[in-house]
Amino acid sequence: MIDLKNISYAYPFQNEKALNDVSLQVHKGEVVLLTGESGCGKSTIAKVTNGLIPHYFKGDLQGKALINQINSSDVEIGEISQSLGTLFQDPEQQFFCNDVYSELAFADEVRGVDPKLIYEKVARLSKLFEIENVLDSSIYELSEGEKQKVALASIIVLEPNCLVLDEPTANLSPEATENLGKEILRLKKDGFSILIVDHRLYWLSEIADRVLVMKNGEVVMEGAFSILESRNLRTKYGLREYCVPSHHKSNATFSSGLEVRNLSFGYGKKPRIFTNYSVSMQAGKVTAIRGANGVGKTTFSRLLTGLLKANTGVFLLDRQELSPNMLLSKTSLVLQNMDHQLYSRTVIEEVEGNMELLKRLRLNNFSQRHPQSLSGGQKQRLAIASAICRNPEVIILDEPTSGLDGENMRIIGDLLRVEAEKNKVIIVITHDLEFIDKCCDEQILMKAEK
């Protein structure tokens, strides 16, 4: 079981405590959800639980983190992972090898386990997690859902009985999220103690036994999942919705905006991703594009911005045909990973001095900070602001809400609405049903070509 006793912690060179006297327990066969707004300290709890604090991240730690009654400060990280496994937000982050079999076998090989036993374990787990057919694939060839399964299997291979999952669904489609939920239920039945740290709440309604809400480094609320039904509570602590509506929006009206006609495209000699695909996106509206992982959404965004050239097809903006180079100058694309896009020395420089915009995004207090020193949600807001600054006619966002709390999601939603009202075309590629429901007017559902 996981037992945190009076944990307080401050990161190196920081005066403010990231955690203040937090105690929590996760019993055998129990799933506990830890939630709260961005920066509330929930990811820090995950790091204390799996021993990265204090072994990897130094700083000032008080209190005890007991995993199966053993204080995690007293044993090495490699040893902790035999009783407690960690699943990170981006599974690629925890892969050390570059093919699936190796990823599953590596940790046991390092420990000198009998090869026959390793082989048997990998065989059993790959069957259990339905990844047998990708065992000899490179990790770069896997879909997000498969990556998540491989990551989970590579943790379970060490036979821990506790798990920490840090925002495990941020990159997953609704279908893959549902599958992960099933895996968790099975592990719970097998007696695992499972701590889930997440913003997304809805997928856990049938899974979590208890919920802890954090704010400013403290646990402020604890109870059954049903406490999240209170709108007041959710607003007060910056949380997301506890359930997601199932109705989907259509893409009905079109008078002016961006049109794609008879688009065909494929990478090299690989099968075509699009064949004679036609679609239109209305100016003045926020249009969501969703679809299963690997269906071609990201490729589509690269085609719309002129980064990729279509084999055939016509792009029209307000009925005027555009070449790839013209597309490049009229569109703006916000990529998924913020590390690639923010390059200025200060936040204000990144938006070319537009203080008004920073105010709208509530970043004005950070104008002199370095963009890379901001939190995830702040960086996402800034990257969108920087794209808006260039005053494009079309703005495309690739998964803007992965890992955003309720408050950040609302701010971004409002900003997109304001831009749309200037008669721009706003396109959002997303898995996030809650975001689509709250912030988008129309929806395009992409399906794989047969």
Binding site: P12, P54, Y56, S73, D74, E76, R345, H370, P371, Q372
Partner: protein
């Protein structure tokens, strides 16, 4: 808490390995984007390589980081260009000497000492490689003169890189990405 077993933490070794690869990749890309081996691209390439080296040392700040980096990039050069055998001795000698320079001019906490160290490293390993190249392969003297000219042009880039690199290192520290 258990005491540290190794002189090098895993994190530090991973950073050194990553940067050995990063510096090779980025300077190669800059050369391509700059239109191959012309003086400007040569300078740009060395600006980038030297500034990344300063960032590496500023992120690891431990005696031996330069030498270890040099050893690993020697292995990379050997495996990709088949020249490592000729370069490695010069690189290693220069690495160790400059490590001592850093140590005795203010230590790894001092940015000025790091800049000094890299300044001498860039000269030393070039001189040693040129001399070794001359002795070892008995190249045509005219080609040697050419090589000296090319290397000197490149060194201008290194000098610029010293300034750019230390500015970047400062900025990354400000951004909280370099933590030591």
């Amino acid at each position: 808490m258990k005491t540290k077993k190794f002189y090098w933490e895993t994190r530090e070794l991973v950073i050194i390995g990553s940067f050995a690869a990063l510096i090779k990749i980025i300077s190669f890309l800059v050369s391509i984007a700059g239109g191959g081996m012309n003086p400007l691209a040569l300078i740009a390439k060395n600006v980038v390589a030297t500034s990344l080296l300063i960032i590496l040392i500023s992120s690891v700040r431990k005696f031996g980081v330069l030498t270890l980096y040099v050893a690993i990039s020697g292995i990379i050069i050997m495996l990709t260009m088949g020249r490592g055998m000729m370069l490695l001795p010069g690189l290693l000698i220069a690495g160790i000497l400059c490590e001592l320079i850093i140590k005795f001019t203010g230590g790894y906490k001092s940015t000025r000492a790091i800049i000094m160290g890299v300044f001498f490293f860039d000269i030393l390993f070039r001189v040693i490689s040129l001399v070794l190249g001359f002795l070892f392969t008995r190249e045509n003297p005219q080609l040697m003169i050419m090589a000296v000219v090319v290397v000197s042009i490149g060194y201008v880039g290194c000098l610029i890189g010293l300034g750019v690199g230390s500015a970047f290192a400062k900025e990354l520290k400000h951004a909280g990405i370099i933590k030591v």
